[in-house]
């Protein structure tokens, strides 16, 4: 098997195919600190793509409460358990990936969920990590008692486990944008992809007897628009765009800036080895660094410090990228921060949007003489 470079692991690893990065890679950053689990993203996707018969249980986008929430049930614990011990030597992963841990005769380690595993789409919702006692849990930062929301879609991985697992190569990664798709004619419903995907983001259609997955709203992306889950995000947690490998990172590209320049956004379970392209700003209120390191890799502490620093007003550029989130339906390819404003541009350099770093506060008098009424809300 060829050796390929996975920058998230800081090393090479084995994979079925040679390294073949797309011309550009669609990706996103989700700020977990701002997600309110409204599930608007989930329903936007559901009503767009998976409202047909046979797709009832499919949530190409789901939002789960960590640490207990998971859909399908315990997907993460199951894969971590199969993987065995995972350790980091600084920024270099010293354990095995799902590809390297494969037994003879298999491409990867993995498991096939049962239908019952999909019975609780929002299992563990709002459950905290520990049992509360009377004396201990005053508000403190970070919290001893915590949970956080983790919105999840297919990661359109650089080294997709689903793609490598398909004996028919019915799954392909588009060279123009890195979107990973299942050919609905070539698929024969073997579910090797479902077994392989460590994030369990392939679903089996009960009616068509073949597999389906997130298409990253490619018809929208092709036209320069955000995906459904991104553009409807109520919490404005999502930065959508194109992510480069580290040596090609562009400082004025919002996603590159978050991932490579400020390193505030981290991959989800990088140790799996698929080089996922959806990144997360880790939650700053969680007290367990061990848990966060398991989920987001070794860069967690640094990322949290960088984020806090920006929230304290010391990093207008970082703040600028974050306020541009979901401020327009169009993909922002370039940003600039100047004079208290963040500007977003399309790939032609046309300005799409400008957003103040700090919303102006206007205080109105309590009494409105034109209507002869008192206002309930004066700011």
């Amino acid at each position: 098997m060829p050796n390929v470079y996975n920058w998230q692991l800081g090393r090479e690893m084995t994979y079925r195919f040679e390294e073949a990065r797309p011309q550009r890679q669609a990706g996103a950053v989700f700020d977990t600190n701002k997600c309110i689990a409204c599930q608007t993203c989930t329903m936007a996707c559901k009503t767009t793509w998976t409202s047909g018969k046979g797709q009832e249980y499919m949530f190409w986008n789901n939002v789960e409460t960590k640490p207990w929430g998971s859909y399908p049930v315990a997907w993460d614990a199951q894969v971590l358990d199969l993987l065995g011990p995972q350790s980091w030597d600084g920024d270099v992963y010293a354990g095995k990936t799902i590809f390297e841990a494969a037994e003879q005769g298999e491409y990867h380690i993995g498991y096939l969920p049962e239908d019952i595993d999909y019975a609780g789409p929002n299992r563990g919702e709002d459950e905290i990590n520990t049992i509360l006692t009377e004396d201990k849990y005053y508000l403190r930062f970070p919290h001893d008692a915590w949970f956080f929301y983790l919105p999840r879609i297919c990661n359109h991985c650089t080294y997709p486990a689903c793609l490598q697992a398909c004996p028919r190569t019915a799954i392909y990664k588009r060279p123009e944008d890195g979107i990973v798709l299942i050919d609905q004619v070539r698929c024969r419903g073997y579910r090797e992809c479902l077994k392989a995907c460590p994030y369990k983001k392939v679903y089996y259609n009960h009616v068509t007897r073949i597999s389906e997955k997130c298409v990253l709203c490619y018809p929208a992306v092709e036209r320069g628009f955000l995906t459904r889950c991104m553009r409807t995000c109520i919490g404005k947690i999502r930065t959508f765009g194109f992510v480069s490998p580290p040596d090609k990172a562009r400082e004025d590209n919002p996603v590159d800036f978050l991932v490579h320049v400020r390193k505030v956004a981290l991959p989800l379970f990088p140790q799996f080895g698929t080089e996922p392209n959806i990144y997360y700003i880790p939650p700053i209120h969680v007290s367990s660094m061990a848990f966060l390191t398991m989920v987001f890799g070794p860069g967690v502490e640094r990322a949290i410090q960088t984020y806090r620093n920006a929230m304290e007003g010391n990093d207008p550029e970082l703040l600028g990228v974050l306020v541009l989130n979901v401020s327009t339906d169009r993909i922002i390819h370039r940003f600039r921060v100047a004079d208290g404003l963040a500007y977003g541009y399309d790939d032609q350099g046309e300005e799409l949007v400008r957003v103040p770093l700090k919303e102006p506060t206007i205080v109105r008098p309590a009494f409105d003489p034109s209507l002869s009424v008192y206002r309930y809300n004066v700011t």
């Binding site: 018969k53 009832e56 239908d115 090797e192 009960h206």
Partner: protein, 313 residues
């Protein structure tokens, strides 16, 4: 009990009756056991003869007496360890195969003991039973056995238990897997009848939501003309549905045993397909999938590469 008129079986019966002196109850029981063993056939030694019969081949009838004209051969199954992912042990030690032809069609009867009939593949972790016959030219290279090669395509017939059930009982849909399933409506079909079966009468405006069907995937098509699909292979992972489908067949599971007929015309109806002629020899491989063991795709139990002799008429 019916005693079938295969020549081999008559010999055995005579022997049994002779030895026991009378067909006592015990003797009858011994006969049943012996028939079972006999059905397994003789060792195939890597070759199978397709016997010429004057009647049309029993392409829809695994129980036809015409099968008795062909000598059953016992074909050992092997692990699949040449293409990832592997199946390290065969699902069943062997299958029994008979073949007959009528000069214009060839038919195979595959039988094997399987305690579980796996008809459905609706749930995520549910797989179907299936079997296949792969044909090619007599001088095919050794690598041909795994779905043909780039130069020597394999002409494949594949029978699937779920296709058989779709044909026998109607398309096996969501309510079969989840009888208590409840739903309000499926856009754009608010007034669709209940239960909302996916079949040829399914409203056209709703089909765009059944993606595999709309895309034309033969596995997603609710109305199947035959339980046997014709495919071409150019090596592992290349299996492709053929445009012209004229294979026929029928599978029955009874008393812990599958009996499956797969038949096709002699003539090739697709470019590159192996045409059959009486009096000639071909390469042949038989394959079985066990649904409850999670078999699908390359997780299968093939026979070795064998020779098929199509008897002269």
């Amino acid at each position: 009990m019916t005693v079938r008129q295969s020549p081999v079986r008559i010999d055995r019966r005579k022997f049994l009756i002779g030895a026991a002196g009378a067909a006592t109850a015990a003797g009858a029981a011994a006969l049943v056991g012996c028939e079972r063993a006999e059905e397994r056939g003789v060792d195939w030694k890597g070759q199978l003869t397709s016997v010429f019969i004057r009647e049309p081949v029993p392409e829809h009838d695994p129980d036809s007496r015409l099968w008795e004209k062909a000598r059953p051969v016992l074909v050992p199954l092997t692990p699949q360890m040449s293409a990832l992912p592997f199946r390290k042990e065969p699902a069943f030690p062997s299958i029994t195969v008979r073949s007959v032809h009528d000069g214009s069609k060839i038919a195979f009867l595959l039988t094997w003991e399987d305690p579980d009939a796996d008809y459905l593949t609706i749930k995520t972790d549910q797989f179907r039973d299936a079997c296949g016959v792969l044909l090619g030219p007599a001088d095919a290279p050794a690598a041909f056995y795994m779905m043909g090669t780039a130069d020597v395509p394999a002409s494949i017939m594949c029978w699937r238990a779920d296709w058989q059930k779709d044909i026998d009982e109607g398309y096996q849909d969501l309510e079969v897997a989840f009888p208590n399933v409840a739903f309000d409506y499926y856009p754009p079909l608010p007034k669709a009848p209940r239960p909302l079966k996916i079949d040829d009468a399914y409203p056209a405006e709703g089909r765009a939501w059944i993606i595999g069907w709309t895309a034309g995937n033969p596995l997603s098509t609710p109305v199947k003309p035959s339980p046997v699909e014709k495919l071409v292979g150019h090596g592992p992972g290349t299996l492709t549905h053929l445009e012209n489908q004229d294979a026929t067949g029928k599978g029955i599971w009874r008393d812990g045993r599958w009996k499956v007929v797969l038949a096709r015309p002699f003539a090739a109806s697709n470019p590159g397909e192996t045409a059959i002629e009486a009096g000639k020899e071909y390469s042949v491989v038989f394959t079985v999938w066990s649904g409850s063991a999670g078999d699908r795709g390359s997780r299968k139990s093939p026979s070795g590469l064998g020779k098929l002799i199509v008897e002269a008429r």
